[in-house]
Symmetry: C2
Subunit: 263 residues, 2 copies
Amino acid sequence: MITISFYNNKGGVAKTTTAITTASCLAMGMGKKVLLVDMDPQANCSDSAGVYNGSEEVKTIYHLMLLSTNNFLKDEIQKVKRFSETIQCDVFPSNILLDGFQDQVANSINREYRLKKILSAVAGEYDYCLIDCPPSLSLLTVNALVASNYVIIPCDSSRYALTGMGNLIEKYHEIKEGCNPGLEILGILNTKVDSRYTTAKTSREKLAEYFGDLLFETFIPQNAAVEKSQYESSTLLAYNRNSSAFKSYELFTRELVSRVEAE
Amino acid sequence: MITISFYNNKGGVAKTTTAITTASCLAMGMGKKVLLVDMDPQANCSDSAGVYNGSEEVKTIYHLMLLSTNNFLKDEIQKVKRFSETIQCDVFPSNILLDGFQDQVANSINREYRLKKILSAVAGEYDYCLIDCPPSLSLLTVNALVASNYVIIPCDSSRYALTGMGNLIEKYHEIKEGCNPGLEILGILNTKVDSRYTTAKTSREKLAEYFGDLLFETFIPQNAAVEKSQYESSTLLAYNRNSSAFKSYELFTRELVSRVEAE
Ligand SMILES: Nc1ncnc2c1ncn2[C@@H]1O[C@H](COP(=O)(O)OP(=O)(O)OP(=O)(O)O)[C@@H](O)[C@H]1O
Ligand SMILES: Nc1ncnc2c1ncn2[C@@H]1O[C@H](COP(=O)(O)OP(=O)(O)OP(=O)(O)O)[C@@H](O)[C@H]1O
Ligand SMILES: [Mg+2]
Ligand SMILES: [Mg+2]
């Protein structure tokens, strides 16, 4: 199983949109077996996958993260795992309870390795595991990066996303050296690119200058179909497979797979 | 001094754009004395105000937050405060060091009241204090809400921002009952509204249905001038005072002041 986190500290750069659309392209477009993990307490990913449940009774990724021993892990995973009809993938959903994880484990040992342990219990069942991260470097994101082979950094055309990249790369090195030497940046994906504006061109040139080949060739255009599909609670694929955004996500997914398989 | 936080757990809804543009409208448009506090380690606000300094030597809001006693507080504040030529306000800038606050004070008493103490030391010098919050309910945001008279919730037209409002209001009640009984929601500001799309209309109708009068009459249109002004490192006012976004922010600022003064 190849595990990839979608992470950027900057909010609203399309981490969730990219994680869920890529999952549907891998599963429905390329026949891969995919697990999608929602590590954001906001649970936008679970919502779009049609598996969100806000009740405190339901078992979510939060309950798996609190398990400190391996006993019953496989049983507990079965209680959490949901199959999403929308994207034809298994999902570990989240809800707002996950916000309490950092405080719950404040004094526990190996806090950073909980998700890694969970995913190793299911590694044989999937080709890919995609993880959606919240817009902060909390213990949830650290768990995601420690459990991952790769990280993909969605980045829109804003000045703020660009100026934040320096700190982001520094945090990546900190986690790679401290917890997960195998972690690599698979690439930087330029999202929400509105070619009518000069800022989009400026941003893309700067990303290419700073990051060279790490910048994915494919970029995702700004496209109203994205927001509309989210309101219709369906995927971009189901909503409008001919939209410019979906076609770009298809190309991006192929570029992603060829980068992974080239390693 | 009236203290207002700009908060929404959802990323990219224009918290920073609203905090900095409103500060410039209050100071430059209405002659108010304004303090702007950057409580986001990403420091986008400090960057746009032209007072960002990433070096570990420089004194920022982080150093004020770590002070556990009142001795020297006034002296330390003088070392942190910067005057922004761009928005004609005093600013308490931040940088990435602020990310370490939560861990640094994990076992200290009254962790939630640090910012409140800092602001009460300067309350006599300003009419308004505006606080930009990060997209997470970390201890930094809790400090901002505990120190505030009001919270303004910027909300774009996305389904995710809408679905996240329930949890946001719950957290607000938790902080109001637990730490700051005087905290009120001044209103919900609909941002980045692109009237060409039905999602914008759907979202605005839903916000009006759920929140009634709390929804500000003024909404902020999607407008390329915003992102362009951020690249030019200037305010929207300086970049294009005739832009639709700036004119809306002027109206919003007047609506904000009339709500505050009506209380
Ligand atoms: N290509 C696109 N074109 C137009 N809108 C888009 C595109 N991609 C994402 N969006 C919209 O931008 C907003 C932010 O996207 P999304 O929520 O996926 O970002 P995020 O990085 O996951 O945000 P957060 O930081 O809150 O987790 C959403 O309203 C989404 O509908
Ligand atoms: N009215 C607008 N029209 C067009 N673009 C806008 C508008 N308001 C904000 N933006 C853009 O949207 C992006 C997000 O805005 P901003 O960074 O202010 O949001 P935020 O809520 O502070 O994000 P974060 O959650 O990362 O703190 C920025 O790139 C900004 O330029
Ligand atoms: Mg997200
Ligand atoms: Mg911000």
